[in-house]
Symmetry: C2
């Protein structure tokens, strides 16, 4: 039987491993030097590989970093979806989403990456597509959690779509603040998010799950 996907030989395994390693290295480099200042030579060095090889796997620098961000976006999306599809009440899911996405530290890796990505996306159609798709998908997932909670009578939420969008925007704003200001504490940021979420679903903040 000839499968459409190529056989999984040692060679092809190595190939996909290299590609993955390059993408991972690209992310590390983008985190350290910033997306705008990242060089393909850096990615090559970080992978202990010649610069030419990078161009063997990726047609251009742009291609490399776009793919890297696509992979990162996929991870983020998977992360929310796992929470939403997991066990627990809608309320606890909502709280877990907040704990997962409200930035933890001023040097929170993913936030730094996305702030860079936003700027780059202003002038790059492909990037803009990736980011808006991630953003919309994220909102959709949270919207569904809110809808479930409202349907089961756990809380009230007259406008799940709007609530999810507002939460997303708030978290993005907090993410920027946390990434740029050192003295901002995670505790405070999380509390701001919880308070806003509580108002969106008409419950008291105190009713959010402990820990």
């Amino acid at each position: 039987m000839t499968s459409a996907t190529p056989r999984r030989t040692k060679r092809t395994e190595q190939l996909v491993a290299r590609r993955a390693a390059l993408l991972e290295a690209a992310e590390r480099v983008a985190l350290e030097r910033g997306l705008a200042a990242a060089r393909v030579a850096d990615v090559a060095a970080a992978t202990d590989v010649s610069p030419g090889l990078v161009h063997y796997h990726f047609s251009s620098k742009d291609d490399l970093f776009v793919e890297m961000l696509r992979a990162a976006a996929d991870r983020e999306l998977t992360s929310v979806q796992r929470i939403a599809d997991g066990p627990g009440s809608a309320l606890s899911k909502l709280d877990r989403v907040l704990r997962e996405f409200v930035p933890t530290r001023s040097d929170d890796q993913s936030w730094v990456l996305w702030i860079d990505a936003w700027a780059a996306a202003l002038r790059d159609e492909a990037l803009r597509k990736i980011i808006t798709e991630l953003d919309n998908a994220w909102i959709d997932v949270v919207e569904q959690v809110l809808r479930d909670g409202a349907a089961s009578g756990e809380f009230r939420c007259p406008d799940p779509s709007g609530s999810a969008l507002r939460l997303s925007a708030l978290i993005d704003g907090l993410g920027i603040r946390m990434s740029l200001q050192d003295r901002q504490s995670r505790r405070a940021a999380l509390q701001h998010a919880r308070l806003t979420a509580a108002r969106e679903i008409g419950v008291d903040v105190e009713d959010f799950p402990r820990r």
Copy 2:
């Protein structure tokens, strides 16, 4: 009487005018090409001037763009302060702030500039300082408006500081969204901001001033 400030000769007038023109050109270039891709040669060309002159007025490329953003930040801050110091009820002032800062279009100039600036600030101490100072000052002004409204009994606001911070974060998040997604309408964004603000001060959205 010998004044500390230099005489206002034709020469010095021209000097400050040149400097201002270069800063303005730098902003235009940053808007068009993006902060990361902006070249000093672009700024020179946009001012109809030789590249060398740019370095005569500004010690380095960094210096040029940092100064440009400092000027832009000053303008933004002046803008809020004028609203806060102006006439009208606290409620109407709050609404005017929202109308002023919730992005108007996907290509809203100042939002594009600040998104670029956030990314650059991740790796630039001087920029980070400018941005956090602007951000904190903005919040302080809004906080004062909220405090005034609460003091006069116009509305309730138990935590003006937190409310101002949350509003700032929400607006930033909406700004990103509006800048990256075309199909987002200003009307919707403004409505999200108004709704959140209304909840912060315990009034009904409908009570926000018409138009």
